[in-house]
Each structure stands twice: as structure tokens, then as C-alpha cells.
């Protein structure tokens, strides 16, 4: 499967669901996170991830105009590819490729929200989010840019 795609975020959520007991030990969450993958060969693309209680579900590809997100994890296609490649190479994000490390300086990625309370949810559930994204290590993916 390709990145970004509904299939990819579906597969990551399925991997998280498969480890639901392990993730549940971190506590429950309440977050609608949008993944904004900017400047792909087919333009900006948006995926939705929902952490509801102890459940992690995919919203697939979403329309940013209508999908109500608490916050958005945003970055250029290359930064996403770098992060996913790193997770797949190491089995989990290394020191320089955790979600927090990639977003703290707002470069190369950043967390945005209309409401700072929504942005702070990214911090409140950060350990769970990192564990979910680390599950991308188990998702086969083609990271080459899709032909236009």
C-alpha cells in the first residue's frame, strides 16, 4: 500500500487495536487527530485518527474542511516519509524521530490547532500516540511518491 492513503492509516489503527491490552495500560484517550501530509505529488492529503476511550480507529482520508479535529500533525511529504522509514528501520522511532522531537521546533513537522487546548491534547496523550505510530513498523508500505 502507498502512503498517504486510507489503507495505510487503517492498517496502523488495526495494528494498534491488535495490541489493545498493551495500549490500554497507558490509560484512555479522547482525541481526534488529523494527519496533514503536505506537498505530495497529488497535493495535500489528510488522514484521520481517532483515539476514543481505549479504542484506536482510523477515519481514513478526511476532508479538512468538514472533519472536526482537535489538532493536526502536519508536515511535508518528505518529513512523513523520513519518520515512517525510520520507524520501519528501527522497529520504533529512534531518538530524533519521535513525534515530539519532530514537532517541538515546528520544523520539520508541527502540531496545529485552532484551540490551544486541542493542541495540548497532543501532549496529554503523547505516549499513547507514539506507541500507535510505532505500530507503523509492522505495516508494509510503498513510500515512493505516487505518479501524478
Amino acid at each position: 500500500m502507498r502512503f498517504p492513503s486510507a489503507e495505510w492509516i487503517d492498517a496502523v489503527a488495526e495494528q494498534a487495536a491488535a495490541d489493545s491490552d498493551e495500549l490500554a495500560r497507558l490509560g484512555f484517550c479522547n482525541l481526534r487527530l488529523m494527519l496533514a501530509v503536505n506537498a505530495t505529488p497529488t497535493g495535500d492529503r489528510y488522514l484521520g485518527l481517532v483515539l476514543d476511550g481505549y479504542d484506536v480507529t482510523s477515519a481514513g482520508e478526511v476532508d479538512p474542511a468538514t472533519w472536526d479535529a482537535d489538532c493536526t500533525l502536519e508536515g511535508p511529504f518528505g518529513a512523513w516519509v523520513d519518520m515512517i522509514s525510520n520507524i520501519r528501520e528501527h522497529g520504533r522511532a529512534d531518538l530524533g524521530h519521535t513525534l515530539n522531537a519532530l514537532t517541538l521546533a515546528e520544523f520539520p513537522m508541527r502540531v496545529t490547532a485552532d484551540d490551544p487546548m486541542g493542541r495540548d491534547l497532543f501532549f496529554r496523550y503523547n505516549e499513547t500516540l507514539q506507541e500507535v505510530f510505532d505500530r507503523a513498523a509492522r505495516v508494509p508500505v510503498d513510500l515512493e511518491p505516487a505518479a501524478v
Binding site: N30, D52, Y54, P108, F123, N126
Partner: protein
């Protein structure tokens, strides 16, 4: 008030099988109000139903009687001084309590202490100095709510319960940073008077509102950013996990403080100057903190990966961090309903940065650490 006496007549009647049962027959509470559990279980918000969910603007009594219970007329006065909803309430406090309980962790069990690698002595010193600072400052966020909690009227018990989770969180933070300082042979570093002065400002706050504004929004907002920075510059996955877990807790406390201030100001907008003055003093103290070598330089050394690199790249990283601290703090103030942008006391010279232009990236920050 006279001490309660034993009703011996009742004792004799009960022994002979003549029960009182007025508690059963004269039940005036809401019979039939039945709470339904939500997806994560039966939460405090789930049971905030009927009259039990009505939070009084002003508490009618000063007792520990559960809100909604039938209370004897002659209950003693517990001496509470925070008897108004605006004193302590936040609209998210029930949810934050539940989240705090759900997301507890153990500094003993959940950190893989045996996996800390041997690192360069300068980096170990820097990590230990950072941990000394954090172990020092975190306990204020236990001490301050503990100092005020018994004064909070029991009708706002959800706020007290949330503060109890915060007290546990901060005890664990003090624990985990003390443990990290001692876990790899470095030990504790220096504790500075300027740090203690800020802690004293919070602890000696004249009222809960002042202390909460200083601690929940300014102090914990700063520490939340420090935890984010700590995660970025951690020399191993062990410290990464410590900082991520602490970050989660701290963000809950900031969320309470932000929404508490918002509630207080929405109910009484005339208090805004009072809060401005609290934050004026706190910001001046924070400025002094960020001009303290023991606070700034360990972050710079860890970010640069060496003492030699700290003067250039590490300084930029420290500027980047402070820039994030200030901006996120100002955004939270905006959300709370208090505009600090035109009044902030932290000098412009602190926190000016352009991450991309300076090359402060996550990769750069951990170069030499991987």
C-alpha cells in the same frame, strides 16, 4: 460545639430489635436517578446527573457531607475558605480527574532503568543537573494544592479530587527525576536561589487564585515545554519515556489551570487586573530563571551533544525552547481570556529564534547522541 453523645436509649431499643429506620422511610433524596456508564466505565461526569450534578455557585454549608445528601442541621463548620465555584472550578475538571486516574504510571515499574547506557560524562552531568532542577520544582505542584485543598468546600469535591491526582503526579515527577539523577552515577547537581524564589512565590501566594495562575498556567506551562525539550534532547530511549510520561501529566495540570482561569474571569471579568498583576510578578521571576546557567546550559549541552557545541547550536536550541514556552503560554492566556501579549514581562531578547534558519532540527539536536 458539644461533642456527640451516645444515645443509650437507641442502643437498648436496637438491641431488642426495635430499629429506627427513619433513614430508610424518610428518604428525600432523588430516588430513581440512575447513572449509565460510558465507554470507559462509570465516570464522575456520568454521575453528575439530576440534582447531584448541580454545582452551587456558593456552597450553602461548610461540611464534608457529600453534595446532594441530606445533611443534619447541626453539622460542624469545617472552616473552609474557598466556598464559591469561581474559586476552584473548571469545566473540564471531572474529565481531567478521570484521565489522571486512568493514566497513572509508576516510576519504579514503568521506566526501564537497567537500559540507561553509559554516556559522555559531560552529558551525564547535564542530564543530572536538569533532573536536579526538575526534581526541585515539581514538588511545588504537590505542596501548593495540598496547602489549599483542605480549604476547598466539599461541594466542589471534583476539583479536590483532581488536585489529589495532581499531588500524586508531582510526587512521581519528583521521584522519577531524583531516580534518574542517581541511576547512572552522576548524582544531584546544584539547586539555585532564583529557582527557590519562584517556588516560594507560588507557595506563599496570598490566595488560591494567585497561586493557581502562577503555578498551573505559568509554571507548569513552562515545565511542560521543558519536558518537551527534555524528550527531544534525551540521550537514550529511557529518558525519552520519562519525559513523555511526565509531559502527559503536566499537560493535564495546565489544562485545568487554563480552564479554571477562564471560568473565574468569565464569572467576574472585573478580576482581570488582579490576575495581570499575579502574572506580572511571575513572568519577571521566570525571566531570571532563563538567565541562570544551571537552568539554560544543561539544555544547551544536551541539545548540542557536547560542551563545545553548546555555545553555538545549543544556545539556539535554548532560544528555540524559550520561544516555544512564551508562545504557548501566551496562547493559553488568550484561551483563558487574559491578553498578555501587550503586557508580558519576559524580555524580547529571550526567546527570539527561527528554527529552520538556525538549523535547529530534531536531527541536529540529537546529533552526537545517536
Amino acid at each position: 460545639m458539644a461533642a456527640p453523645t451516645v444515645d443509650w436509649d437507641y442502643v437498648e431499643r436496637a438491641k431488642s430489635g426495635e430499629l429506627d429506620l427513619r433513614w430508610l422511610r424518610e428518604w428525600n433524596s432523588e430516588w430513581g436517578v440512575k447513572a449509565t456508564p460510558s465507554r470507559v466505565g462509570l465516570t464522575m461526569r456520568d454521575i453528575a446527573i439530576g440534582s447531584y450534578g448541580e454545582i452551587p455557585e456558593t456552597a450553602p454549608r461548610r461540611t464534608m457531607a457529600p453534595r446532594g445528601s441530606e445533611v443534619d442541621a447541626d453539622v460542624p463548620d469545617m472552616g473552609y475558605t474557598l466556598n464559591s465555584k469561581t474559586d476552584v472550578w473548571a469545566d473540564n475538571v471531572m474529565d481531567l480527574y478521570e484521565e489522571g486516574v486512568s493514566r497513572q504510571w509508576s516510576a519504579t515499574r514503568d521506566i526501564p532503568w537497567s537500559e540507561i547506557p553509559e554516556i559522555d560524562p559531560d552529558l551525564e552531568h547535564a542530564m543530572c543537573q536538569l533532573c536536579t532542577l526538575l526534581s526541585e520544582v515539581e514538588m511545588i505542584a504537590s505542596d501548593f494544592p495540598a496547602k489549599w485543598m483542605w480549604r476547598i468546600n466539599h461541594d466542589y469535591v471534583e476539583a479536590k479530587m483532581f488536585l489529589a491526582t495532581q499531588i500524586m503526579d508531582e510526587a512521581r515527577h519528583t521521584e522519577v527525576f531524583r531516580k534518574r539523577a542517581l541511576a547512572n552515577g552522576g548524582g544531584l547537581g546544584k539547586a539555585k536561589a532564583v529557582t527557590e524564589s519562584f517556588l516560594k512565590l507560588v507557595l506563599d501566594a496570598e490566595n488560591y487564585a494567585q497561586g493557581s495562575a502562577l503555578m498551573h498556567i505559568l509554571g507548569e506551562g513552562l515545565v511542560l515545554s521543558l519536558f518537551r525539550a527534555g524528550e527531544l534532547i534525551s540521550p537514550s530511549p529511557v529518558e525519552k519515556k520519562i519525559f513523555r510520561l511526565c509531559m502527559q501529566d503536566e499537560a493535564r495540570h495546565v489544562a485545568y489551570g487554563t480552564m479554571h482561569l477562564r471560568y473565574a474571569l468569565a464569572e467576574d471579568p472585573d478580576r482581570i487586573e488582579e490576575f495581570h498583576q499575579y502574572l506580572d510578578g511571575g513572568e519577571e521571576m521566570i525571566s531570571a530563571l532563563f538567565a541562570t546557567p544551571e537552568v539554560v546550559e544543561p539544555i544547551a549541552v544536551l541539545a548540542a551533544g557536547s560542551v563545545d557545541g553548546a555555545a553555538v547550536m545549543g544556545g539556539q536550541a535554548a532560544d528555540m525552547l524559550l520561544g516555544r514556552v512564551i508562545e504557548e503560554y501566551l496562547q493559553r492566556c488568550d484561551r483563558a481570556g487574559i491578553d498578555r501579549r501587550s503586557r508580558i514581562k519576559i524580555p524580547d531578547v529571550l526567546g527570539n529564534y527561527d528554527a529552520a534558519a538556525l538549523g535547529v532540527t530534531s536531527d541536529a539536536a540529537v546529533s552526537g547522541l545517536n
